[in-house]
Amino acid sequence: MMLFLENVNLALTAIKTNKMRSFLTMLGIIIGISSVIAITSIGASAKGAVTAEFEAMGSSYLYIMPNWEMMNTDDFSMNDFFTSEDINALKARFPEMIKYAVPYVSGSSATKVGRTDANLSILGVGANYDDYNKTLLMQSGRMILDSDIRGRKNVIVIQDKMAVRLFGSKDAALKKEVPVTLNGEQTDATVIGVFEEKESAFAGLATSNTYKCYMPYSTVLPAGEEYFNYIEIYCDPDTDIAAQGKSFTGYLENVKGKDEGFYTFESAESQMEMINKVLGILSIAIGAIAAISLLVGGIGIMNIMLVSVTERTREIGIRKSLGARTKDILTQFLIEAMILSVIGGGIGTLFGIGIGKIGMIVAGTQGIHMSLVIEPLTIIIAVLFSAGVGLFFGLFPAKKAAKLDPIEALRFE
């Protein structure tokens, strides 16, 4: 222990005497560790943001769709898609589990009120959609009702921001007409309600003059058309969504006479899995880069330690003549290599956190708001790992120093 502290002091002195050289040596470790820290903390932050996002939306929904890979694109029949009857059959078969099931159709349109224009991202939904979709908060007016669906009414529920932009205020928008183009036909839709979208980390990603709005799905579908591509289902939140999805698609394949796997589904869970997978692959890729720079950093340390051993050959001889054992010299140089890389690791950690913070700021300017998650465990592992790098790459030079013959070392010029 005594000798350990003595060695730490010696190492710090040696590092201080060669400040520039020591810094350049640490650079590889600094780059390696800072990229690991930056990536893991940005990754953890993104994961946290995504999870929060899905939790806000309620994780009990799923979309059923044909499995496009399974479909014979040359020879598909309309029967491959869904009708209202399929939805009714599903509801009848799973009355307990299905809280809400509607066709999910979408479209987009440009609009212009007076001299102000805007782009609409139109979602065709069923009645009382806001009871299930938790990101949607009604501000004034009402949501689409069953009568609107059955009557294929030309009504629209618009976002608060759009109401303010086009009509000056939320309440002023009610009962006003908004021109929309649906399936190539221009119509005027009447505003029946204004909603606010719940604050979301990714809300800013939508371009500034594109607004979400809701219309009856029957209105969004072309006249006389009864087939649609997606079914949106809200289930009992206490059930296993993945298992539910399987039984729904299985049932649909059965009643519609399709092969197993013809229909597939996507849930918050599976979407999150996919996002996490992408984040995971990204982390691995950048982790590999970090590993390479740590390797390079380690080799740098080995190189400089070899130089240092040669430069200090005479000093090693003197130490041996005064009674230093092989083990004492070995520890001295090992500790020096480790301290070099641990200091590098420490600086790298600080840099990494800095880069992560900058990343958050950059994401913020792009409309993605998240807070940096710094996992203490990552920092501990990073520092321990850099100590390990020092130990591993310091071993060879330290051994070389330790086994020097005392008289040879003393004669060294």
Binding site: M2, R314, G323, I407
Partner: protein
């Protein structure tokens, strides 16, 4: 008591095809408390012998008994222990560790001897005071004169109170005034503390400080006699024979 005994010691240096026989079968016995000078022309093998005696180098053949123990049989760590505890080595070129204060240099053998920090510091300061450098202990080697460096080196050699002091031309790089001062320190160590002191020198004036002069030529001892001081000391009457 025979502290040092060498029998048929040979040392051959090999540099590629060239072989240099630096020691050609040296026999020598030195008793505890002796004060010995080794003289001889440059290249006669004095340093080679000192390095073997100091356990810094190994002979090519022959035996070296230190305190009756055959040194060739010792392991690496045991040799380190001897260098640390039994022998204090003083070099012609001082061999202080650069950028390290006089105090730290003197502490070093005690660091390897695992002496506690406070104890170490106290002893190092007292040793430096003994050699007249009590006020300079914080100086770096490049901030003090040659004579002062050699005194630091002697203080360092004494750190663990080794019974044997080996000095290879300790005054070789010093002016005559400093040389005399250094020799007075060695004399004091031998006379008052009972250390066995062996010094290499080629200056007869320096050799006059000792009791016994051994002369080398071409790797052999050609002369081994007492000085005036040696005869006067009466020491060799007791040891008998010599």
């Amino acid at each position: 008591m025979e502290v040092i005994k060498v029998c048929n010691l040979e040392k051959i240096y090999k540099n590629g095809n060239i072989e240099v026989k630096a020691l050609k079968g040296v026999n020598l016995t030195i008793h505890q408390g002796e004060f010995v000078a080794i003289m001889g022309a440059s290249g006669s093998g004095k340093s080679t012998l000192m390095n073997v005696l100091g356990c810094l180098d190994k002979p090519s053949s022959g035996n070296y008994y230190l305190d009756g123990e055959d040194v060739s049989r010792l392991r690496d760590d045991e040799l380190s222990y001897i260098r640390n505890r039994k022998i204090g080595f003083v070099f012609q070129s001082f061999n202080l560790i650069p950028r390290t204060s006089a105090l730290k240099n003197v502490e070093l053998p005690m660091v390897y001897g695992r002496t506690a920090k406070q104890e170490r510091r106290k002893r190092a300061i007292s040793l430096l005071t003994d050699v007249g450098l009590g006020d300079r202990y914080n100086h770096m080697p490049n901030e003090i004169s040659g004579g002062q460096k050699q005194r630091v080196a002697i203080a360092r050699a004494l750190a663990n109170e080794p019974p044997i002091i080996l000095a290879d031309e300790p005054t070789g790089n010093l002016d005559s005034k400093s040389s005399v001062e250094i020799m007075e320190i060695f004399t004091d160590l031998n006379r008052n503390r009972g250390n066995t002191v062996i010094i290499v020198t080629h200056e007869p004036d320096i050799a006059e400080f000792t009791d016994r002069v051994i002369t080398f030529r071409d790797g052999n001892i050609i002369k081994d006699e007492l000085t005036g001081r040696g005869v006067a000391s009466g020491f060799y009457g007791e040891v008998s024979g010599k």
